[in-house]
């Protein structure tokens, strides 16, 4: 018994950061999944994460709010921003939307970089270590549960309809603009909470973490894992967080592997790794072969 807990203790202290990261990345991947599920390619989630991280960190550092309160604020702040820019931005579609959200992300990053209160390029240091494992697990579980319920409901069907054929969706009585805004704002909220959680266990944040590269990483996780369901983004987040650790010996070339994975998945597994339909078909063929 002691051997088990002893080893677990060692395991935990070595890998807890990694596991926390998987959790946070899973939340981020789910946040972009949400917007993708309604046909929106939004690259703003890294920026939303950044807003959540900074707002929550500043509230903790300067106003001493409780952790629960800063988490909530960390989610509400980017959600509010999403609400404001959402209406005009979401009128764009496809690539234009991607570009606009990218540009927005850059504006946010540069703003953070230049404000005094955010510590400028040096970032914020000394954020109290408030996040614990159970916070992440709980929030991830709630998010997965909430999104799963959403998917099965009329909202999920509306998203799917909008993603497939916006015009037909409108003519079925769906208020497309409102639903797109919902996906965008809710995605922003989740990303913001993820940012707040992250800030409170890495105790140091800087604008560099919330730019184009992070936005691309988040997208990669969702695309890699598969966007047909909720498990895909979590799988993708896990793989892309753990893989660089496993490949640590490759040093600089682990980015190379990341990029290669992206290309290969796009070419050979267009819907990502976890694609229920393909997996089911594969199983059927297996059974058929045995019989």
């Amino acid at each position: 018994m002691e051997w088990l807990t002893g080893n677990f203790g060692d395991f935990w202290s070595t890998y807890s950061t990694l596991i926390f990261q998987v959790g946070v990345h899973a939340l981020l991947a789910l946040s972009i999944w949400l917007t993708l599920s309604c046909g929106l390619l939004s690259l703003a989630n890294a920026a939303f994460m950044g807003i959540g991280a900074y707002v929550s960190a500043l509230l903790t550092l300067h106003l001493g709010w409780s952790f629960g309160a800063v988490l909530l604020a960390g989610g509400l702040a980017p959600a509010a921003v999403a609400l404001i820019i959402g209406a005009p931005v979401l009128r764009l579609s496809g690539v234009y939307l991607a570009m606009a959200t990218l540009a927005f992300g850059e504006v946010v990053r540069i703003t953070i970089l230049n404000l005094e209160i955010t510590g400028g390029p040096e970032g914020l240091n000394g954020i109290p270590l408030a996040t614990e494992g159970w916070h992440i697990v709980l929030i991830l579980a709630l998010t997965v549960y909430g999104l799963a319920r959403l998917r099965r409901s009329k909202v999920g069907r509306a998203f799917e309809a909008i993603k497939e054929d916006e015009v037909a969706a409108r003519l079925m009585g769906i208020n497309v603009d409102r639903y797109k805004l919902l996906a965008f704002v809710l995605g922003g909220f989740i990303a913001g909470v993820a940012g707040a959680l992250n800030a409170h266990f890495t105790f140091f944040i800087s604008p560099r973490e919330y730019g184009f590269e992070s936005a691309v990483d988040i997208l990669t996780m969702a695309v890699l894992g598969g966007t047909s369901g909720l498990f895909g983004p979590i799988l993708g987040a896990s793989i892309l967080t753990l893989l660089p650790e496993l490949l640590r010996s490759l040093h600089d070339f682990r980015s190379l592997v990341n990029g290669a994975i992206l290309v290969l998945v796009v070419l050979f597994l267009p819907k990502g790794i976890w694609e229920p339909r393909r997996i089911r078909a594969w199983f059927k063929r297996l059974k058929g072969a045995k019989a």
Binding site: R149, S153, K154, R157, E160, E164, D165, V167, M172, V176
Partner: protein, 258 residues
Amino acid sequence: MNAPNLLSIRNVGKHFGGLHVLQDVSFEVPAGSIYGLIGPNGAGKTTVFNLITGLLAPSSGNIAFRGESLLGLEPYRITHRGIARTFQNIRIFREMDLLENVMVGVHEHLNYGPAALFFNTPAYRAAEKRARERARELLTWVGLDHKADLLADNLSYGDQRKLEFARALATEPKLLLLDEPVAGMNPSEKAILMEEINNIRERGYGVFMIEHDMRFVMGLCDRIAVLNFGRIIAEGTPDEVRNNPEVIEAYLGKEDAA
């Protein structure tokens, strides 16, 4: 007997820059009737549908539904008012199964909020159950219920049209706009659809269709309007229209044997 007509199109014009697609188009669709819109290709028929459903705004004129103007309304609001539509080139949701496709149609009639959704309340469950049952009912009505769990993409052409029909009915419309509903169907399928449209007329729905199949249109519609080069050249009962010299001329060589 002075109830407003179901659909009232008055002096509607539409132009794109210098291109006049519709000019001074007027007609009335009375409640509980089946109305047809025919005309050579490119006459502007689908544009009329696009104007009614709010996808386009008329350059001039007015469109009123049950006495209230539809101008300036968003398409989804027009659907809420009671107008549903099918498409010439079929726009079903291919990646969803049949049941889900029809359930999308029920969307606006499901009134639960985020709390009910999140906590899986009895009210939510009951609403979803009703939606599912209604969808099944409609699928059964068009003869597709045994395929309810199939992906819409896997349907045959004729079945896809039936699905679109069922989905449009799911929105509980008072007026159903059908854009070439029998294109690509074989005679027995057409006969079945003719039967179904007559049935829904009996249930009080109004139907407004665009079609090229003359036998279908003449056999089903109470009144027909003929559009040519963006203008109405004739309007009346099938017999009146059939014998109208202008109509015959417009269709010279293009008319299916009546």
